[in-house]
Symmetry: D2
Subunit: 292 residues, 4 copies
């Protein structure tokens, strides 16, 4: 079972959570500690010096470099970015979207994997609305950019419609015989429209709808992700944990990435499996280490 840590995300600041790593050294240190206890992949976001979301390839290169200096781990850079003001672009009629040029730029950070968010959905944060705006033409452009950069896409799937339409349509463009890497994103419906809430039946259905050869993970927002993550393992999938996804516990107390990965390892072992090594993860995902 691959355990991915998602340490940072595109929203939470250090004011809101004491142990979210936002600066390059902090991210690298946190990832290294998580790999020590069982994580074998890291799903990274970068932030400006004052914690705001960014997709700056220079920042991604710096974080990737610092992580690799400490530990071997599969690196995944988010091209989704975040909803902070510097990442917003005007859309007309007073609306705004997450900047498309910035999303595209994330591809150049040098990671083995770049997220492919083919979703169009409204995020509502602090009373403001920002559109994650990905018409099919943009999804194809991003997909081609990722392939050109020598990275592999990770399909972020927010709802089952993407499994029967967006993923197969785009896969047809870039099919290289390697199994698609899919991350099913559950329980982020407090922020995003078009994003499903976990139920055992729905996750079963989504897994049944995956392209045959897909290797899938599940990430789960909210405070009680363990049941959904356990179901992912039961159904043959991999799991992602971290402060990005579920920063607070049932009582609202902040959790650290290290605690979350340790809990994930206990879950995987309780289900009769063991965490994958980094080499096994590379093999499962058909990615080679990229040196820069």
């Amino acid at each position: 079972m691959i355990i991915t840590v998602a340490p940072t995300g595109g929203m939470l600041t250090r004011r809101e959570h004491p142990s979210v790593p936002t600066q390059p050294e902090d991210i690298a240190a946190d990832v290294a500690a998580c790999v020590e206890v069982g994580a074998s992949a890291a799903a990274l976001h970068v932030r400006t010096a004052d914690d705001l979301a960014a997709c700056d390839p220079e920042l991604y290169r710096r974080v990737n470099h610092l992580v690799r200096a400490r530990t071997d781990v599969v690196l995944n850079n988010s091209s989704g970015g975040g909803v902070s003001v510097p990442m917003r672009a005007p859309l007309g009629d007073g609306m705004s979207e997450i900047s498309w040029p910035q999303r595209l730029a994330a591809v150049d950070g040098g990671a083995e994997i770049v997220t492919l968010d083919a979703i169009t959905a409204w995020a509502s944060i602090d009373g403001e609305e920002v559109l994650m705006n990905t018409p099919p033409s943009r999804a194809r452009e991003l997909s081609a950019r990722i392939a050109a950069a020598g990275a592999r896409p990770e399909w972020e799937v927010f709802n089952p419609a993407q499994l029967t339409r967006d993923v197969p349509e785009l896969l047809a463009d870039i099919d290289d015989g390697r199994p698609p890497i899919v991350n099913i994103c559950l329980d982020i419906d407090g922020v995003f429209t078009n994003a499903v809430r976990w139920s055992p039946a729905l996750l079963s259905h989504m897994v049944d709808s995956l392209p045959g050869s897909a290797v899938f993970s599940v990430s789960v927002g909210g405070r009680t992700p363990w049941a959904a993550l356990a179901q992912a393992v039961i159904l043959g999938g991999h799991i992602r944990v971290g402060v990005e996804d579920h920063p607070f516990d049932e009582d609202g107390a902040p959790r650290s990435n290290l605690e979350l990965v340790e809990q994930a390892v206990r879950l995987v072992r309780a289900l009769g499996h063991r965490p994958a090594t980094v080499d096994e993860t590379r093999e499962l995902w058909y990615v080679k280490r990229r040196v820069r």
Copy 2:
């Protein structure tokens, strides 16, 4: 079982289909013929004189009036409109959306029911992309407008995320104790992103996820809608048929609204039920006839 006819839709023209009714007299005549054989509700779109999509309340009033002059039937006016050029508004960066002011205007056509498309999804037509753009703030605005006009909303649900988020959130605003009217739109994924493709497991799940008191219908795009429509009936739902949804048969031959309603009646009877009368439909949906 309520059989709704959707005779026209927002896309197909008479050049593409010989019997799609687009002009007021034609729509009224077609609806009346369908009511004769078993339909008890009509889900209407209006068109300009040259068949282009419109949401013009004046046109809606005219069509509604002509229909009522011929037959008693529950009237549902679409606020979704269509993707024709006159309904498009620029969105920046070369993109366009379906005009929001025009969508809002549909409310004033005088129907008992107005569709509430709370979805944000890209439509791809003839190589062009248009956004059905409905952030939560717009959905609330439309919902309030429908209530203020004395109509009831029909929730157009494209994917299960809307059932756990959009519908409950908006329902909380307008809760008047009446059961919500939901239409689950399947198999329009050839045009829209975020729109699910039917499978027995998915439709079961969506029906299980409905708000407890909801009265639901199912509409199905494509050429072979009958199995999905039968499942809707099996699961206790109602059905919508018509040239809007499935204009051509398996062999590509055009079907008329009358043929489609007759086939729906045969299906309902084969499953051991009978078509609802107009009065029964009004009771199930808690709508009174609106006279204008």
Copy 3:
């Protein structure tokens, strides 16, 4: 879609139902009429002169001969028999079972298909209990007898346990590369223990659990079989109807085999399919006509 008619069954008498055919000429006439309107297979039971259940091969041969004199149709002889006194054998402690020697004898009736009831379940009729008693050793014996007689078995499946255990275990013995013929028997739980009641989720699960190549039908007891039969068609299966399975309508009025087959044909057509011919049925089931 194969429509099988099950005209007689092992329980209902002419005192209880005016049009259940129990005598050879009546069965043959009824089957011929049903084939005329769309049935292509007949699942037969035989009865004594006073309507009691029997498995007498001489009687089966006579009925099969009379049917074939009138119409070409795929013939299936039940080895399940019935619960009437002449078919009961003592079991000790005041209990009784359906006679095993009589069940075995049905194989020699000369039909292309013989039912293989590998189930062990108690039938409760008129306050009496009779065991359908089929330990694995008997199931293997029956299966071997059917193969030796040159017939094909139809697996009567009462619950999902049989699909993961009995059917695969026995199939391993007789595997001849031909797809297994399975009939899923639903809603006979009013009589038999270990027999499931239809729900959409359960039937879906059972169909998903079938051996990969199986060709399956569904039969449904009770008064309202149409929804379950429709789901069978939706899931790619075939259907069985007849006085054996659902002799009375919702209001308790008796239905004839002809009416039931006509209703089945309407259902199949309403779902966009057409009834299979006898030749198509033989091809789907890999059975040749047996001439005697």
Copy 4:
């Protein structure tokens, strides 16, 4: 989450497994150790001095007494017994059943809970077949005996047919307003016919089919029970582990009851829950401690 330990079962001997407790002192010591680490109920079988299955009430009383001398725990005595020769009774035609008088006698052992095996199924052990033979009349008799003894029944459910028929039918007889206690027995299909094999979809369906107020546990045979047990917890159920159910690990090495309960506790905690105390278990099951 209630963790029940099933330390002994009705089949495995000390020759086959080094740490299966079969004698009263050994069972009591094992149960006490398991309660120490998180079990709050014990599902007991008793054995003769040479390890053969028994339902002797005297033996049950002795074991129950010894357990209670060491630890407070909810006691459940099996009325299913086992397949050893001393528990077999002849059934005619060379067949044998598990002795009904012995099964009934288990009720008098003084436990708070007695299993109610309303199933009829063939067990195949070492090439021999024995029938667990429970016609509805016997099930009612056993149910009444359990109620008369002041105990509560635990419904052992082997397949979904029992949930829609046997359980509701018998519940109607004994309804006392207390929630029924159900144990869903999975993956014993290597021994029993009519016993389902776990799949996520099937367990979901069975849980959905439970009588509304039921409190359910899941027990799982075989070597890899953890995924099915995790699903039980996810679906709101309780779990049973022990040498009776899954005596050997994936590699065929024997596991002790203590190890299995410890693993169950880790699973429950990894899923974000904690083991129930004995008092909480009594409350959930509506049972009072019985002192003798």
